[in-house]
């Protein structure tokens, strides 16, 4: 809640104006039954036609005034809600874009997406409703009670018993009902999960003739969904009829009590009628409060989910080491020249473990990784799945910080760079990297100053010229989301072109040629050697042929370096490497 109000406070001036207008409109609404009562009890018996028409016109005038006020206020509220949510979404998107790897792990992708969409819609609705219904409902409720008290204190006492009764029962039911909906959501998740499993695994399901089994499994989940959904809906549909019932009982009491008071000369008959109208208003008020109650608990949960992302701290802060401050250009230059003889990239006794849900994992992903790489030379990393190959890249580009040891790029600790400065040095293709729904040119240029000519060169180097040439619109060809209109090999080649396009200082290819056949893969490596000889290259691969000709090769096993050196050296003294070679090459 604090989060939402924090965003609304910016508009406090406009909100105050809006509230005043809404208040005026709603308050004026109370005049109408009052005038009606006056007409029936005072004017009609006096048989004064002029006075009566004046009163009638007054009623109509008030009604039109009420409408204008309400519409103005509603529109202001809508505008404020839309501006608020625009800002919130903007903040959230920017923040999500800059989350570190471990922060993204903490939430997961689907959850981050739903915070951006359905949660933001909940908050948006809340901001609007709280400004309109949030004013109207309490006024209808309290105002209704006050007016009835002024009209006839005795009769109004009936309300003092009923209203708390109604509010209590409605709130209790809603409180019970809201958690039920969470359960429904869980059941729905199960259904969606089973469907997704069957869609992705349809070949397996069909090949093993498990259709009946899957149908039965789904049927159970479906039935559970039915029963929890029914329960939740039934519970939540109760407040309406119950409210109506209690109010109608109250009405009856008012009529009977009113009859006594009329008989005793305390009350006028028109008052009873006015009471009926005010009862209706009070009922609407209670209804509104119930809606606000449900809405608030929903919006509160959503706002909590949004703000927990926005409030994430800066995970990867830039620290300035002993040898320089940011902006201290001379010092920086000095450092660079000092480093002429130092390695360009180095891992110094680096160990790393993931932090999961605030707790550090027990097992180290990488232990004591130590290697160096000179400018313009190449490094291959090979090893079993889960041996920590990708983690090396994650640390090098500072998606995560090393738990122990230090990572050096261009003579400086990666922590001393601004993140953008560090990453500018890289051209990278990640494992399962993403093609965006945009033209091939934009996918390759990716916001950098890469003109069509340069992009085409990169495409040629990445061995993609042939298939890009087959598109009528060439580089202007539009890729579908996730490159769905391209084959795996085509996607990988476009991704490699992206990595090459800006002639990076460091090229990182993480398992990015797995969908390429050996021939293309070999030609690609040759091209990189010839055209990018100033670029330091790091290639991670499963295939030994992809890395065997590189200047230095690291063999990783369970987070440890078990071999390092050139192909020939490793063949001689690294058993794991030899094994891999034997299997792949016979």
């Amino acid at each position: 809640m604090k989060f939402i109000f924090g965003h609304m406070i910016k508009y406090r001036g406009r909100i105050v104006v809006q509230l005043i207008i809404k208040f005026t409109g709603t308050a004026a609404e109370f005049m109408i039954p009052y005038v009606l009562e006056y007409m029936l009890d005072e004017v009609a018996p006096s048989e004064n036609i002029v006075k009566m028409i004046i009163c009638g016109l007054l009623m109509i005038g008030i009604a039109i005034f009420v409408r204008s006020m309400n519409i103005i206020a509603n529109r202001k509220a809508v505008r404020i809600a839309s501006e608020c949510i625009y800002n919130i979404r903007d903040d959230l998107f920017r923040k999500t874009m800059e989350l570190s790897g471990s922060q993204v792990d903490k939430y997961g992708l689907p959850s981050l997406t739903s915070r951006m969409t359905s949660d933001s819609y909940n908050v948006q609705n809340f901001i609007r409703i709280i400004q309109t219904m949030g004013v109207r409902a309490p006024i209808l409720l309290i105002g209704g009670m006050v007016v009835t008290m002024i009209m006839d204190f005795g009769l109004a006492m009936v309300l003092f018993i009923l209203v708390p009764l109604i509010i209590a029962s409605v709130v209790i039911i809603s409180k019970k009902g809201i958690p039920l909906y969470e359960k429904v959501q869980q059941k729905m998740d199960t259904i969606v999960r089973i469907m997704r499993e069957n869609i992705t695994g349809i070949r397996v399901v069909k090949a093993l003739s498990k259709e009946d089994y899957e149908t039965a499994r789904y049927k159970d989940a479906n039935r559970e969904m039915f029963s929890s959904d029914t329960t939740a809906s039934v519970v939540m549909s109760l407040p309406g009829p119950i409210m109506t019932l209690i109010m109608n009982i109250g009405l009856t009491v008012v009529v009977v009590l009113g009859a006594y008071r009329v008989n005793g000369g305390i009350t006028k008959p028109g008052v009873i009628l006015a009471f009926l109208t005010y009862f209706n208003m009070i009922l609407m008020g209670v209804n509104g409060i119930n809606r606000i109650f449900i809405m608030t608990s929903k919006a509160n949960a959503s706002a909590g989910r949004i703000s927990s992302v926005i409030d994430e701290g800066q995970d990867l802060v830039t620290v300035y080491g002993e040898d320089g401050f940011e902006g201290d250009i001379e010092n920086k230059k000095g450092t660079a020249s000092d480093n002429k003889n130092k390695p360009y990239i180095a891992f110094k006794n680096v160990s790393f473990r993931y932090v999961k849900q605030g707790n550090e994992a027990d097992e180290y992903e990488l232990t004591d990784i130590d290697f160096e790489l000179n400018k313009g030379s190449s490094l291959g990393i090979i090893g079993a799945t889960g041996s920590g190959k990708t983690t090396v890249v994650n640390l090098l580009m500072r998606f995560y910080d090393a738990t122990k040891g230090s990572v050096i790029v261009d003579g400086k600790d990666v922590k001393e760079y601004k993140l953008t400065e560090l990453r500018k040095k890289f051209g990278v293709v990640f494992q399962n990297d993403v093609i965006f729904a945009d033209t091939l040119h934009e996918n390759i240029a990716f916001g950098r100053e890469v003109d069509e000519k340069r992009a085409m060169e990169a495409v040629t180097d990445a061995r993609a010229a042939e298939f890009v040439g087959e598109y009528e619109d060439g580089l202007q060809h539009k890729a579908d989301i996730h490159g769905a209109n391209m084959s795996g090999g085509q996607k990988q080649r476009i991704l490699i072109a992206r990595a090459l396009a800006a002639k990076p200082e460091i090229l990182v290819l993480d398992d990015s040629s797995s969908a390429l056949d050996y021939k293309t893969d070999a030609l690609l490596r040759q091209m990189i050697r010839e055209h990018y000889n100033n670029t330091s290259t790091i290639i991670i691969a499963q295939r030994i042929s992809s890395i065997m000709n590189l200047d230095n090769i690291i063999v990783l096993d369970d987070g440890h370096i078990v071999g390092q050196g050139k192909h020939e050296e490793l063949m001689e003294n690294c058993k794991q490497y030899r094994d891999i070679y034997d299997i792949q090459m016979n």
Partner: protein, 589 residues
């Protein structure tokens, strides 16, 4: 994609959709009948309430000391009884309605799922999982909610409007004339607003869909975006989409938020007219005060539903388009049924033959040309070639995930079309590149292909696939629950699980489609013995990138651009120095 477009362009068939919807509701016609009768009674009772209230007030209005309390009590009791009964019935109706509508949703969800399992595999290649799932998670939900709330609302509205009007006329035909002013205003306004807001609302959902898609895409590429410092460009683009979404919300609600106050003003206008006119009539003693009271109450009830109907129309509209999407899926073409007198393929021997097979996924785009292949029982057939060369297509044809366009495929010298599909597929075991596990225990995942597999059997194959020690290291061992996207198990380990699964499944023909592509080389070496064991005495079709894996194959098919361009053994292919030769050489460069 192309197919999707044609589906979308199909004209909306409202009548057909309604008919299908009614057939779902028809199953519960007695329940619906009960609901209709009950809500009629309940609403009529609710309408009688104000009448009794009016009578009671009339009695009370007799003046000081002149009130006939017996009459007041009589009417008050009637009023109370009618209201209680009506409320209780309303609760009963809502429970019945909820049950029926949720039952209909359940049936629809079940039908969609069973339908999906009968669809050809190609359907899932062409349609996105997210889109299919949204029909179950979102569309069916919309339909269910619509049936539950709107049907009752419509019934209530009709009864209330008609009933109120009748009561108003009964009370005072003259006063009822005021309705002639208010009704046209209310209806006219509603119709106009619907025309204005309808396109705005559909624009709004489109804009939300765009936001959703953009966010999903960018979040999934977040790491890449950071790596290339692309954030600003993305944020710029998001800014526009975000602005549009906020703006169309504002625009739609700008008009939408006038409906409530306007209906209110029409109500109050009606009230004022009744008051003025009523006071006149009262002056001329044409009406009693109590009658005006009842009339006021009825005229409130009368105009209420007009507002509701506008809302209901919107909801009905969106429910109809949701239903259309669901029925479109339910109406899609299924996998062709087995031919008449198809036979079971039992105890297959394992001879497989392809004769002059032509095939293309899209009409006119043949990608397999005149393919001939003979695989005797127990032989190892390898298929190699660059990505996209059509290797997986051959597998799709063998398992009859797709039917050939011309030519034929024989298993045990009989055309595969003459077998029951299930039994044909039962003759194959397979391990695919896209490993698939479902949310369940590791034991269940391995035992998936074999009913009543014992723990010992499962452990034996897990050991053979070199996944046993990994499993034992997990907190719950074989009872550890894993899931499709679960982070607790790597891609390579998933593949080992599926290998173990295939080992447990007894069959005569085996398909290995890049079966060890995600397994690292060390593990691959370790499971080689088990793989050989798995392949023993079986007709095997192996697709592999690593040519070393398939050197010993009895026959190697070399595919490129969808054609099988070379066939032979490793030696003969190397000798001919063709495409295979160059592929093989490439791994050493």
């Amino acid at each position: 994609m192309a197919q999707n477009d044609t589906l979308r362009k199909k004209p909306k068939d409202t009548k057909g959709t309604l008919l299908k919807l009614f057939s779902y509701m028809g199953k519960y016609k007695f329940a619906f009948f009960g609901i209709i009768v009950l809500s009629l009674v309940s609403n009529v009772l609710g309408l009688l309430g104000p009448n009794f209230a009016g009578s009671a007030i009339n009695e009370a209005a007799a003046g000081v000391g002149k009130v006939n309390f017996d009459r007041v009590f009589y009417y008050a009791a009637l009023m109370l009884g009618v209201y209680i009964l009506s409320s209780v019935m309303a609760i009963v109706i809502s429970i019945m309605m909820t049950r029926v509508s949720r039952r209909i949703s359940e049936n629809m969800r079940q039908d969609v799922f069973e339908k999906l399992l009968r669809m050809p595999v190609g359907y899932f290649d062409q349609n996105q999982a997210g889109d299919i799932i949204s029909r179950v998670s979102y569309d069916i939900d919309v339909i269910g909610t619509c049936i539950a709330t709107d049907v009752t609302q419509i019934l209530t509205s009709i009864v209330t409007v008609a009933g109120s009007l009748i009561m108003m006329i009964v009370i005072s035909p003259l006063l009822s004339l005021t309705a002639l002013v208010t009704i046209p205003i209310a209806i006219g306004y509603t119709v106009r607003m619907k025309k204005v807001t309808q396109p705005l609302y559909s624009k709004r959902s489109k804009s939300y869909g765009k936001l959703n898609g953009f966010v999903e895409e960018m979040f999934s590429g977040q790491k890449t975006i950071q790596a290339y410092a692309y954030e600003e460009k993305v944020e710029e683009r998001f800014d526009k989409i975000n602005y549009d979404a906020a703006d169309i919300y504002r625009e739609a609600e700008h008009y939408g938020c006038t409906i409530g106050p306007t209906v209110n003003v029409v109500n109050n206008l009606g009230l004022a007219l009744v008051a003025i006119f009523g006071a006149f009539l009262y002056m001329y003693r044409l009406i009693a005060l109590g009658q005006i009271s009842s009339f006021v109450l009825y005229s409130r009830k009368f105009s209420g539903p007009i507002n509701e109907i506008a809302n209901i129309m919107n909801e009905l509209y969106s429910a109809l388009s949701a239903a259309e999407r669901v029925f479109e899926l339910l109406g899609s073409e299924e996998e062709a049924a087995d031919i008449e007198n198809a036979v079971e393929l039992e105890n297959a021997h394992g001879d497989v033959e392809m004769q002059h097979v032509n095939f293309g996924y899209l009409p006119g785009k043949t990608i397999i040309h005149d393919l001939n292949l003979k695989a005797d029982a127990g032989k190892l057939i390898a298929i190699v070639g660059p990505t996209g060369a059509g290797k997986t297509t051959i597998i799709n044809l063998l398992m009859r995930f797709y039917d050939v366009d011309s030519g034929c495929i024989l298993v045990d010298e009989k055309e595969i079309k003459e077998y029951r599909r299930k039994s044909l597929r039962g003759a194959y075991a397979m391990v695919l590149q896209d490993t698939w596990v479902f949310n369940g225990t590791i034991f269940d995942n391995i035992a998936y292909g074999k009913e009543n597999a014992t723990r010992e059997e499962v452990i034996a194959v897990a050991k053979a696939a070199h996944i046993h020690s990994f499993i034992m290291r997990l907190p719950q061992g074989y009872d550890t629950i894993i899931s499709e996207d679960g982070g607790n198990i790597s891609k390579g380990q998933k593949q080992l699980l599926t290998i173990a699964r295939a080992m447990l499944y007894e069959s005569r023909i085996l398909i290995l489609d890049e079966a060890t592509s995600n397994v690292d080389t060390n593990t691959e070496r370790r499971i080689q013995k088990a793989m050989r064991e798995l392949m023993k005495d079986k007709t095997c079709f192996v697709i592999a990138h690593r040519l070393s894996t398939i050197k010993g194959a009895d026959r190697i098919l070399v595919a490129n651009h969808g054609d099988v361009i070379e066939q032979g053994t490793h030696e003969s292919l190397m000798e001919s120095k063709g495409f295979y030769y160059s592929l093989y050489r490439a791994q050493f460069e």
